[in-house]
Symmetry: C2
């Protein structure tokens, strides 16, 4: 089977959809550093809602990218950690995040230039 991401029927497209999910990428990057609990993620990832966090974590676990582990402490704590598969992806995602941080100014400048050019 020839994989071609430009074909809509290609299974890679489905994975591509998952990858192009802002919350998933942020969570993956965060878990790459160390295992994190649910509410800790909720506090650290600014702007995410409980619902989206729960949903995204479930998807990531289903994809085999992260692992959920509940500890019978009181109150119960749940730790999310990255899997070996997830690690291979997150290293790429990391580069993407760094690109955004490094080139933010350049993109912003391009936008200003474009808007000025279009307005005139």
């Amino acid at each position: 089977m020839e994989y071609n991401v430009y074909a809509s029927a290609c299974p890679t497209r489905m994975i591509f959809d998952r990858i192009s999910d802002k919350w998933a990428l942020l969570i993956l990057d965060r878990l790459c550093q160390q295992p994190v609990r649910f509410n800790q993620l909720l506090r650290e990832i600014d702007g995410i809602s409980q619902k989206m966090l729960s949903q995204t974590l479930k998807n990531l676990e289903r994809d085999g990218l992260i692992k959920r582990q509940a500890f019978p402490t009181v109150p119960v704590t749940v730790e999310y950690s990255i899997t070996a598969l997830g690690k291979t992806l997150s290293s790429t995602v990391n580069v993407l995040i760094h690109w955004a941080q490094d080139n933010g100014d350049a993109v912003l400048a391009a936008q200003v230039e474009y808007d000025g050019r279009m307005a005139s």
Copy 2:
């Protein structure tokens, strides 16, 4: 200014939103190979509509990632090409696409395993 992608107010977040756009990534990857015309992209990127293509191209141009160039041929042809800035991004995106192609089977297998585990 400290850049922190986990903060919702951070400008990198805005760029991050743009990056996590399936069509943008596909177009960027395609243009990385060589300049392509509008209708050619429409034909090659399976499933994209005229509207989304036009919209995404405009965004990418505004971000300084691609360049639009019209030629006074008959009928007029418009060529989209990648910029230097876009090239730095697309090389990362490329790795992402290859990851999806290489690890598609592993993810699919994880999903099957997860679904079986949840059903029981």
